[in-house]
Each structure stands twice: as structure tokens, then as C-alpha cells.
């Protein structure tokens, strides 16, 4: 770590291997841009429309088998180099802001996920396609719902301890349904893994899941911001991190990461530890997350965390 880590409530473990000390990432905090109250208001409003719900899909909870693969596509810079491979996939799930970039490149995803409650997200769904199933978190801003008007909107609850009781109550009183929600982590990419698994996919291929900036430390996505003035400030600090032992050949490999990417790395590690029996990740395009997974797999659990 070159930059000073932010102080906050998101604390990562130190990791050690037999080779020596590994990553030292402490105190990274991720902040929600939208307040809990605003999210609850969005949920109440969106549920009035009686959109189909995720667990009502016929593909929900239907194991697909290890030979059926799904491509999960994030917007990391490496996607530019691998996007042509996506044409080989029957089932593609776009995660968050990558949607319009895929459509512009003639890749029509099967599913498009969004869980960003900010109205900014609507800027990345300007090319909605009538055949895509839009898996939209129930707390989505109304601008996004409007941008997807007439298309296949499917709602899901993005599990949050802050809101679960309220959502439970609404579901019971308004819809006579149980509370079903999708957990997973701090980014849409991490939630998308859960969504894919809920639909029965275990053979998951990751594209654009770099969880780091481009090699120059400047490029945040494979595409530009839709609204740079508004979005540039969202990445206020970039860290330089090393993965692997502090001694040995891997020491030279470093990545530039924004705070949310660092959080995503650690969330992925936890998610993988809990769910590795249920999915096999394959990364395309390299990046911090791909290398981090290799590291996680190499280290025995008892040796990971001191």
C-alpha cells in the first residue's frame, strides 16, 4: 500500500503465507451515496408497480449443471480486450454501468443487473433492449425505472440489515409474501454472483472484473463516465497495492485500486470462502481480482489470517 488507507469501519485482515507477509489493507471504508431513507422510499414506490419478482422467474433455483456457463460482465478496463469472447456465450449478465457499453458493441446481455440506488445509474441504461431481463434492485431510483419503461423489469431485494425489517413488513402486508433478498457484497458485481447462483449457475466466467484501474492508474472502466463532473469525485483516492508475498517474484506485481475496488477484493475473498463449493470462477482479462483469487486458492485457510 502506498497511499494512506482511509480510516473507517471496514477493516481488512492481514494475510500471511509461509512465504512471508502479504497484503496489508486496513481501514477501507465504503460510503453509500444514497441514504437509507431514500432507499426505503424508492422501495415503497417501486413495489407499487407490481413488477415481476426475481424469485418468480422460471429459471430461479433451477440448477443448470456445471457444463452450462454464464458470463458475468463488469466494466473493468480489461473488458476492451476480451469483449469479443462474449459472443461465444449463450447467457450473459451485465453488471451495473457496463450495459450501454455492451449494447454499443453489439453484445446483448441476457440479464442486466443494477443495484445502485443513485439516479446516476440511469445514464448507463439509455439503450435498453426489449429482450433483456433487467434485474433491478428494489431500491433503484425512479429515473432508472423510467429509463427502462416498457422493458422487462424484474425486481429483487438487495439485502441490507438496515432495511430488512421494513421490507419484510411491506412484503407481508402488501403482497402476502415472505422476505426474499439477495446478499453478496458491496458492489453490483458481487451481488450478481449471488443472482447467478440463485438461478442455478455454478460455472461462472468473469469479464471486466478487474477490481483495479488500468495499468496507468487512470482508467477506471473500459468506457468513460457518462457524466464526468458528477462521477469523477466518486473516486477520490487511488491506492497502489501489491498482491502476494512481500519477498519473491510476485512482489513486483502491483495494481492501482480505488476504495470500492479494494473493498470488492476483500468481499470477494469472504464470499469465495463461504461459497466455493457452489461455484467455479474463471477470470478473463486478468486484474487484481483474478490474481487475488489465485492467491486465496493457494493459501491454506489456517494460514490466511493471522
Amino acid at each position: 500500500m502506498l497511499a494512506e488507507p482511509q480510516q473507517g469501519n471496514f477493516v481488512f485482515e492481514d494475510v500471511q503465507t509461509p512465504k512471508g507477509e502479504l497484503i496489508l489493507v486496513k481501514g477501507i471504508q465504503t460510503n453509500a451515496a444514497t441514504s437509507t431513507n431514500d432507499m426505503l422510499e424508492n422501495i415503497i414506490e417501486n413495489m407499487k408497480y407490481k413488477f415481476p419478482i426475481f424469485e418468480g422467474l422460471t429459471e430461479y433455483n433451477k440448477p443448470k449443471g456445471w457444463d452450462r456457463k454464464i458470463a458475468l460482465v463488469g466494466g473493468g478496463p480489461s473488458l476492451k480486450n476480451t469483449i469479443h469472447e462474449l459472443k461465444e456465450y449463450r447467457t450473459i449478465m451485465s453488471c451495473g454501468s457496463v450495459h450501454d457499453y455492451l449494447i454499443n458493441n453489439n453484445v446483448i446481455p441476457t440479464y442486466a443487473v443494477n443495484c445502485d440506488p443513485s439516479p446516476i445509474s440511469a445514464n448507463y441504461f439509455t439503450k435498453a433492449d426489449p429482450e433483456v431481463k433487467y434485474l433491478i434492485a428494489s431500491h433503484a431510483d425512479r429515473k432508472l425505472i423510467a429509463a427502462l419503461g416498457g422493458k422487462q423489469i424484474i425486481l429483487w431485494h438487495c439485502h441490507s440489515e438496515d432495511l430488512q425489517e421494513q421490507i419484510f413488513k411491506i412484503e407481508r402486508e402488501e403482497n402476502n409474501r415472505d422476505y426474499n433478498a439477495v446478499g453478496g457484497g458491496c458492489t453490483v458485481g458481487l451481488r450478481a454472483i449471488s443472482l447467478a447462483m440463485c438461478m442455478g449457475y455454478g460455472n461462472i466466467h468473469f469479464y471486466g472484473f478487474d477490481s483495479c484501474m488500468g495499468d496507468d492508474g487512470e482508467q477506471h472502466h473500459a468506457y468513460d463516465w457518462a457524466n464526468p463532473e458528477e462521477e469523477n469525485p466518486l473516486i477520490d483516492k487511488v491506492y497502489k497495492i501489491h498482491l502476494g508475498p512481500t519477498t519473491g517474484p510476485e512482489n513486483n506485481k502491483h495494481y492501482y485500486v480505488a476504495g470500492y475496488q479494494l473493498a470488492q477484493l476483500e468481499n470477494f475473498k469472504d464470499f469465495y470462502a463461504s461459497n466455493k463449493d457452489y461455484f467455479i470462477p474463471t477470470f478473463h482479462g486478468g486484474g487484481a481480482l483474478a490474481d487475488y483469487l489465485e492467491l486465496i486458492k493457494r493459501i491454506k485457510p489456517k494460514e490466511q489470517i493471522q
Binding site: T58, E59, P130, I153, I154
Partner: protein, 316 residues
């Protein structure tokens, strides 16, 4: 056509009535097909299947969502010409397999988006041996319960294959909801057109919708000897040339009864609902030939439906 023009009437082994007119060409009027399964059994199936509370087609997120004319769907029947158009079919993003063609498509490395089944006979299982977890199996509520069991680990979606024989009140009692149903005609292919339209597609590409034989083959793949026997009598059908009156010796098709009925039903369907979709045929056959004629006649002098009925098909 005056009734006095009829010089004979022939009843086929399947119970279809063929009228022979004095111009020496046999013309089918009100072609009917016999259901292999009785209405009583069909309705019993519905009563057994509905309590399973499986998802219904009208609950799919894509139902009645307009796709726009630039979004095509391929609807695939099992006609012999399909063999020659597999590569074209592979270029389609959305594919609806109709009836028995499913396993043939799978053998060609094609995974349809949807597969529609409305044959209540459990014999359908023979064409669904190579199932795929990503296919949405659109099963008519009237199918035999063994079929639903056969698909239990896969995506099962029910739809009512409407029949005038159904007691809708009784179905509504079972469902407790409004009665949604798909109508359309005497074959799963014809119902498939309506399914496409209800899913919001208007740009419909037909594959294997020959409605006629190729030499001795009625499908692009083998069917059982029993099924071949059930096809019954073979008819020779002549279509007229686009720009001349009367039948053409160049446009001759051989077809069995259900194919002829399907061609007629498609004609009627297109005349009534043709404004809702644009068909594109891949592969020649009776159905595409008849569609060309309909469009030609309507386009040339806006002929009445009656004239179309009289002059399109000549059967011997």
C-alpha cells in the same frame, strides 16, 4: 362457388371432407383434423395439471412486452427443409421450437429459447430426450401429466391451448384467475405463431414450416413407424402461378392431411391477423408458396377472401 359446382364428396380416413368440383380439381373446404386425444381426456389432464401451480405464460416478464420490428424471432417446425437452413437458424438470438423438432435442434447444437408442446399424447416425450436447463418449456395445460413429470427439473411454463370444447368456467374455478389462453390452429406450429405474438414479436422467421413432404420424408428427422401410419393418405397439391390463373404443374406439393389442414389454417390466420406480424420463410414448401400467393393476390387487386379460398390450392 355455387354448391351446384360440387360433383362429389370424399371422406378421408381421418374424417376430413373433400369436395370435388366440376373443374376436376379437388378443393378442401373446412378441413378438420382429428385429435388423437379426446376432449374429455384433455380436460382431465388440465384438472390434474393446474393444481401443480406451475408458472403460467402470462406471468413471464417478456409476455406482452413489445419487442419492435427489428427484433426477430425464429419459429421452428420439423419440416424437411429445415435440414438445409440450420446455419441460418444459428444466427438467431431467440428461437421457439415447435413440438417434435426439439431433439433434432439439440443434435445440431442449437439450444432454443423456448420449446412449445401442445400434444396431449405422452408420445411427445420421445422427442424430448435431450433437455437443456436453459430452455423454457412451454407446456400446454392439456398435456399428459407424465410430460410434466418428465420436465420436472427444467423450466416448466404452462399455457392454455384454447379449445371451443373447454369449459372455461370450470377452468376458472380451478385457477381462481382470469382465463388466459392461446388459440391459433390445429398444430403446435400454428399455436407457436400466437405464442410469438403474445411474447411481443412481430418479425417472425419460419424454419421447417413446409407443410408438405420432401419425397417420402415428412420431417427433417425420423419419426416412428406408428406415427407415419397415422399420417394417413397422401395428397398432391397444386398451387397456381403467381401471375396466371389455374393450377401449375411446376408448383406441386405432396402432403398428408394434417399438413394440408395446417396450410389452410395458416391462410385463414394470415388473412385475419396478418397485420400483426411479418412472416419470412426459410425453406420452400406449401406454406411459403401459399403465403406468397396471398400476398401477391392481395397486393395485385385486393381480392376478397372468398376468391383466395377458391383458387389458392388444388388438391388431387
Amino acid at each position: 362457388m355455387q354448391s351446384s359446382d360440387v360433383i362429389d364428396e370424399i371422406k378421408t380416413p381421418q374424417g376430413r371432407l373433400i369436395k370435388v368440383y366440376k373443374d376436376n380439381y379437388v378443393k378442401l373446404e373446412e378441413v378438420s383434423t382429428d385429435a388423437a386425444t379426446s376432449s374429455k381426456i384433455t380436460f382431465e389432464n388440465i384438472k390434474k395439471n393446474l393444481p401443480l401451480k406451475l408458472p403460467k405464460i402470462e406471468k413471464l416478464p417478456e409476455y406482452r412486452k413489445i419487442k419492435g420490428h427489428d427484433v426477430p424471432i425464429a419459429i421452428v417446425g420439423g419440416g424437411p427443409s429445415l435440414k438445409n437452413h440450420i446455419d441460418e437458424l444459428k444466427g438467431f438470438r431467440t428461437i421457439l421450437a415447435c413440438g417434435s423438432v426439439h431433439d433434432y435442434l439439440r443434435s445440431q447444437d442449437i439450444v432454443p429459447t423456448y420449446a412449445a408442446i401442445c400434444d396431449p399424447d405422452p408420445v411427445s416425450i420421445n422427442y424430448y430426450r435431450n433437455l437443456h436447463t436453459e430452455v423454457k418449456y412451454l407446456l400446454a395445460t392439456s398435456v399428459d401429466v407424465t410430460l410434466l413429470e418428465h420436465f420436472k427439473d427444467y423450466q416448466r411454463i404452462l399455457w392454455h391451448c384454447h379449445s371451443a370444447d373447454f369449459n372455461v368456467d370450470e377452468i376458472e374455478k380451478l385457477e381462481g384467475t382470469d382465463y388466459h389462453a392461446i388459440s391459433g390452429g390445429c398444430t403446435v406450429g400454428l399455436r407457436g405463431i400466437n405464442i410469438c405474438i403474445m411474447l411481443g414479436y412481430t418479425n417472425i422467421h419460419f424454419f421447417g414450416f413446409d407443410s408438405c413432404m420432401d419425397e417420402e420424408q415428412c420431417h427433417a428427422y425420423a419419426v416412428s413407424a406408428k406415427e407415419r401410419k397415422d399420417f394417413g393418405r397422401l395428397f398432391e397439391v397444386k398451387l397456381r402461378e403467381l401471375d396466371s390463373e389455374g393450377p401449375s404443374e411446376k408448383r406441386v406439393f405432396k402432403c398428408v392431411g394434417y399438413q394440408l389442414a395446417q396450410a389452410y389454417a395458416f391462410r385463414d390466420y394470415y388473412l385475419n391477423f396478418g397485420r400483426l406480424f411479418t412472416p419470412t420463410f426459410h425453406g420452400d414448401g406449401l406454406m411459403s408458396g401459399m403465403w406468397e400467393l396471398i400476398v401477391h393476390i392481395l397486393g395485385v387487386d385486393d381480392q376478397s377472401d372468398a376468391k383466395l379460398t377458391r383458387e389458392l390450392i388444388h388438391v388431387s
